[in-house]
Symmetry: C2
Subunit: 393 residues, 2 copies
């Protein structure tokens, strides 16, 4: 079946998580993504979990599926020339070097657009290609912290809290992919390529919801609120007998149903809870305690089913096994299985964006280091060994 | 200047945050986005913070900039016909109704593609258009919980913790936008439209990093880790004299520099900290305490400058005011100011994706409710009042 990005050739000069996550989405949707690693390999190959039998990195495997892979030592002049040859024929180059490194390696946009003016060049970095911090090294935790996310996550009486998974990395990868698609669409009209510049700091900053306007329009510096929402109540996570459950009651009508459902009609008579505004003011230590007590003696499943049948938004806090195995995730094909040459059958996440006419798919596993060197450059065994000795691969 | 999506016409049947965030990105990059609200208005108009002078919602203002706005009561037959007329000429429709509602309103994909087979129809919802939970109501907190994110955020000895800002909402909006762009690109080749289906649950699930393979490949159910990374040490957030600082030391070379920099050379002699693997094992309560003690007597700014000059990834945990005012955010134009008709000068976030050839921009403010009714349908005052009486607007 046709995929949305069939025919698009992508060169991926990316390592770790953020750039490769962009490459993964392009590949899932039909682009031919060629991952170019240094002869030492993407550092992500050394990140766990590791397959017990083969020692392969599960991290590398999931984020590099659907890509072919070669090695090239870009510091070697002949290798660099081979890369330039690939650029002539490519549509997209994506890179996530630290600021300044692409230029030093002579694979920056200004260099490559002379070789191919139609090239679309996607750059992802911690702080971006411009500004005073442009060349500074960055980890996900640093971008989350400086971007304002960490200070907004966690409880008022506890420390600022990092989001568990590396969302500065992966969401920046999604933004990079979106930028590449905008540039591809634009090129259909103009015939010209361009550079996309996304930064982990900017990405986190753009996800702060109403945090920014709370300050610029509301005049307040918002504080972290734990699991409650300052403008809706009840809206919280409660401890049930066997775990936690998230419950949201967004308006008066739902609050009516909610009180009936939990058998606490008397709350409806209480003037402190008459409106959402009053409920917000009188929530903590008051309304919250009633619900806490009620939930503490129930099972998660019971609460979920009870609320679902009443039309109240609710859901259990799931651990990784439970999240993976829930029926909705299965029904949505959000888990896929693929045969990996050394790991065997491997399961990981599926394709997030469901396109009805040109659906994406996971077709083949991540490449072993340098797996497609001979194929891509059409080399005999002798030629290959020779070039390897010269330090090209 | 040309923008990437110039000429694209988008009809936004969206409310709240997730669909409108997609529309915002399309509009920032040049698409003509027409926001269609029910006569009661998007619920987001009632969400704070509110401008003290005009009472307008700062939330609505930032996420709907660059859009024109009309009202249409889609339950009115004449209004529905007027909507269909708009569809004839449109490229994209985006909607974020709860599952089943679009069909009931007769604005679902199957209906609209008969009117315009080239239409691209983007649907965003809590659980998606398919699967057993498809029609269930959902809030951000529910998707974060069931998607596995909440259980992975927070401290091992504390409760599972919601990510402060609503990342199920906004990141699903980014995925929806990416799906729309894929469909637009594909339509250039095939001439055909299609439906995009993204779900908040799928989105959160896709952001779990190596959480999923930790279970499927590594055989372990990962647990929340607070601010540390289980596979890198030191990698943590420390309390300084005047706030918190994030520090990441990714390899042995950096650990050497780190120990020199904080004046604790003796750590290098300690066999418990020889390798990253050993440092991870002996981090909590040991190496962690040394750094905690060191950081507790320093200012954030001092630590940041000290580490920056040593090339160590580091950054302060910034509150909203500090995040907004930091020089890098300013240099990247991540804050913009716009003149709003009732709020006056208003500041909010800028354009995240930087395109060198066709840059996006914030050109005009969010619409007042029904502001462009007469303009879009080319109506005289009399005609307009008449139609209003008939319940169209």
């Amino acid at each position: 079946m046709t995929k949305a990005l069939d025919g698009i050739k992508v060169l991926e000069l990316c390592h770790a998580y953020n750039g490769p996550f962009c490459g993964m989405m392009l590949a899932d949707h039909g682009a031919q993504v060629l991952k170019i690693e240094s002869p030492r390999g993407d550092q992500c190959r050394t990140w766990g979990p590791f397959d017990k039998k083969s020692g392969e990195s599960g991290f590398f495997a999931f984020v590099n599926r659907n890509k072919k892979g070669i090695t090239l030592n870009l510091k070697n002049e002949e290798a660099l020339k081979m890369f330039y040859d690939l650029v002539k024929d490519a549509d997209v180059v994506i890179e996530n070097y630290r600021g300044g490194v692409a230029k030093k390696l002579k694979v920056d946009y200004d260099t490559l657009k002379k070789i191919n003016p139609r090239i679309i060049y996607g750059s992802s970095s911690g702080f971006g290609q411009t500004g005073p911090l442009s060349n500074r090294p960055c980890y996900d935790i640093v971008a989350q912290s400086m971007g304002g996310m960490v200070n907004m996550t966690g409880f008022p009486d506890g420390p600022p809290t990092k989001v568990g998974p590396s969302i500065a990395d992966n969401v920046t990868g999604v933004f990079l992919c979106l930028g590449v698609l905008m540039a591809l669409y634009s090129r259909e009209k103009t015939g010209k390529g361009q550079q996309i510049d996304v930064a982990m700091l900017d990405t986190i900053f753009s996800l702060l919801e109403n945090g920014i306007v709370n300050y610029t329009v509301g005049g307040e510096i918002p504080q972290r609120q734990g699991n409650i929402d300052p403008s809706i109540a009840p809206f919280d996570i409660f401890k049930a007998e066997d775990g936690y459950v998230a419950i949201g009651v967004g308006n008066d009508k739902l609050f009516n149903i909610f009180c009936e459902t939990i058998g606490h009609r008397e709350l409806l008579e209480n003037p402190k809870f008459k409106t959402n505004d009053l409920r917000c003011k009188n929530y903590v230590g008051d309304l919250q305690n009633v619900i806490r007590k009620w939930a503490s003696t129930k099972k998660r499943k019971y609460i979920e089913e009870l609320f679902d049948s009443a039309g109240l938004p609710c859901g259990p806090v799931l651990d990784m096994k439970e999240a993976i195995e829930q029926p909705q995730i299965k029904a949505r094909n959000m888990m896929v299985e693929i045969e990996h040459p050394t790991m065997g059958k491997t399961k990981f996440q599926g394709v997030t964006i469901k396109l009805s006419g040109t659906p994406g798919n996971v077709d083949f596993p991540a490449p072993l280091l340098g797996q497609h060197n001979k194929e891509i450059f059409n080399l005999s065994e002798d030629e290959y060994e020779n070039m390897k000795k010269k330090g090209i691969f």
